[in-house]
């Protein structure tokens, strides 16, 4: 039997995504549903988790009202992400702009800036952070900048901000390898004709940055924001993930752990949704202008 070419085309498409569909049901959807059921149940028998009774949102309520550890840890992860993400974006953008210039040893710098990515969120990195390497890397610069005289001059408010900056800067930089390369690829795709036209019209570098580079880069910035947020919330070293893994595998509170992980995921989803709405508006506006 010969199929109509239109049907055939659709069928071929489905053959290609078939592995994903199978994988989705096996390794994603069924665990997902099971995890939701667990989060609204109580288990009496640990083996095979057979005796489940529905208890509604008890675990969710308990997380916010009864658990003294949950909220501080959750807030910690949220603050870290909300502070680090803009820092990662700004620094990787600056570095990418510098690397996109015609400079010597560009290859060397690009390779170096990507190196910490190899440590990623692996155990080696967590050991290094535990030993305080991120502070050691900046201690020299910090001592140079924050001498006692300067501390007195600028007052404790500024000193705190600078302190906070130095305590985060190393980890921020070490996490920006992928973002630098993505920004770089975006910068190189902007047509040189645009820049030339602007220079002919006597635009300054400053104008060019705000009126050409930044608007053209909004889709890439969006991509990087999403990547950074997902990367930071999925980091196995972060306090929340450690917390619910411990609850689940060491303390055997499987249902509560499932509820915690859902609260966590829903928060990430809401945050990404907000980013999406916000960026959509900006992208539409810049497109409208152009």
């Amino acid at each position: 039997m010969r199929l109509r070419s239109d049907t055939r085309h659709k069928l071929e498409g489905y053959i290609f995504i078939l592995p994903f569909i199978v994988g989705f049901f096996l390794f994603f959807l069924s665990p997902l549903i099971r995890s939701i059921t667990l989060s609204v149940s109580d288990v009496t028998k640990m083996v095979g988790l057979s005796d489940m009774t529905l208890v509604g949102f008890k675990h969710y309520v308990y997380a916010f009202t009864g658990d003294v550890e949950f909220i501080p840890k959750f807030l910690q992860v949220i603050t870290d992400t909300l502070v680090n993400t803009p820092m990662i974006l700004v620094f990787s953008f600056i570095l990418a702009i510098m690397l996109s210039r015609n400079i010597r040893c560009r290859g060397f710098f690009r390779v170096v800036f990507f190196l910490p990515f190899l440590l990623g969120s692996g155990y080696v990195m967590s050991v290094l952070l535990d030993l305080g390497l991120d502070q050691m890397a900046v201690s020299g610069a910090k001592d140079l900048l924050l001498t006692d005289e300067i501390k007195e001059l600028v007052g404790p408010g500024v000193v705190n901000v600078v302190d906070e900056f130095f305590s985060r800067i190393s980890t921020v930089l070490w996490k920006s390898g992928v973002q630098i390369i993505i920004f770089l690829s975006g910068l190189q795709s902007i047509s040189p004709a645009l820049y030339e036209a602007a220079r002919v019209d006597a635009a300054t570098e400053w104008d060019i940055f705000w009126k050409i580079t930044l608007p053209m880069m909004t889709p890439i910035i969006f991509l990087n924001i999403v990547y950074t947020i997902v990367d930071s919330f999925g980091d196995v070293n972060n306090a929340m993930i450690n917390y619910f893994t411990d609850k689940c595998f060491s303390e055997n509170q499987v249902c509560y752990a499932a509820a915690l992980s859902w609260i966590y995921f829903l928060f990430v989803a809401v945050l990404l949704g907000l980013v999406f709405l916000f960026m959509n508006r900006i992208v539409n506006r810049t497109v409208g202008q152009g």
Binding site: I17, P31, V124, V127, I220, F265
Partner: protein
């Protein structure tokens, strides 16, 4: 005439001066940044050859008084390197192969074909990127227990062949970008010459995606090599563990040793041994990166993530 020339020249000189200054600033900034990015590696290398005396000597920072290779031997033994390196290599190579085969295949379907519910399926791909795998780790564990896959490498490897595994969604996304940017002419020509749709993919599209394959290869190797979270959960016997999973034990020994402040025993884990072990864990990955770095960075840059 002469005076206008002179003023023009002066202006030109001033401009060149300004450009030169901004260049110097860029270089200084980039060099400081390179120091920051290289710091963890330099620190690990230098510390790994420090003797115990050097470690306690605050005046010795970057240049140790001599190389203590004993650290490396101790790290080698403590990691049980010769046994666990094979576990790591096996897991990583099979998982990476699975990612390359499956993610490119799936992505090709998304890039080249129009079919009902395509939008929905792609949203689901994005969803698998966004949901941290830790959210479903327990039900997954239960599923694998039912399948009898516990204490084997199957839970780590099999999902990779279906576009799942560690961040499979990102790989699908990367390959899709590549195939969207690839002109259809070659495949169409092949089809006219009687090539089947599978042939067009395997003989033409897939081999053309060399740069994306390399990017996927490096990302997949790095992510799987560093992963100690899943192996420790699925593999009960520590003899099956990959290299990074051995590091926590050494770190605990180090912490215990430094808390007691004992300096006499020979078998003690010093910071030098710890750093040597850390380097041994990432050594193969570093080597791989050094070999392919140029093509990899270029591939990632040209992965079709354009600003349009």
């Amino acid at each position: 005439m002469n005076t206008t020339m002179q003023t023009l020249l002066k202006k030109g000189n001033a401009l060149r001066h300004k450009v030169q200054l901004s260049r110097i600033f860029i270089y200084v900034f980039l060099i400081i940044m390179s120091y920051m990015f290289l710091y963890p590696f330099l620190y690990m290398i230098v510390t790994s050859i420090k003797s115990q005396a050097d470690l306690f000597d605050v005046s010795i920072n970057w240049i140790p008084s001599g190389a203590e290779w004993q650290n490396w031997r101790a790290a080698f033994v403590n990691l049980d390197f010769s046994a666990h390196i094979w576990n790591s290599l096996l897991i990583v190579s099979v998982c990476t192969l699975g990612h390359i085969l499956s993610c490119a295949f799936i992505a090709y379907g998304f890039a080249r074909y129009q079919f009902p519910l395509k939008g929905l399926w792609f949203v689901l791909v994005v969803l698998t990127i966004i949901i941290p795998s830790q959210v479903i780790i327990l039900p997954l564990y239960l599923t694998y227990t039912d399948m009898g896959w516990l204490n084997t490498y199957l839970p780590l490897m099999v999902p990779c062949f279906f576009g799942f595994g560690l961040r499979g969604g990102i790989m699908i996304f990367l390959f899709r970008q590549f195939f969207i940017g690839l002109p259809r002419d070659l495949e169409n020509a092949a089809k006219i010459d009687g090539c089947s749709f599978m042939g067009a993919y395997f003989r033409i599209a897939f081999p053309t995606a060399r740069s994306s394959i390399l990017v996927c290869f490096v990302l997949s190797v790095v992510w799987h090599w560093n992963d100690y979270y899943e192996p420790v959960i699925y593999l009960g016997k520590s003899s099956q563990w990959p290299l990074p999973a051995m590091l926590p034990t050494i770190y605990e020994k180090y912490l215990a040793a430094s808390a007691e402040l004992t300096t006499n025993a020979d078998s003690i884990i010093t910071r030098g041994v710890l750093m040597a072990a850390a380097l041994l864990v990432i050594a193969v990955m570093l080597l791989m990166y050094c070999v392919v770095q140029r093509q990899f960075i270029q591939g990632l840059e040209h992965s079709g993530l354009s600003a349009e």
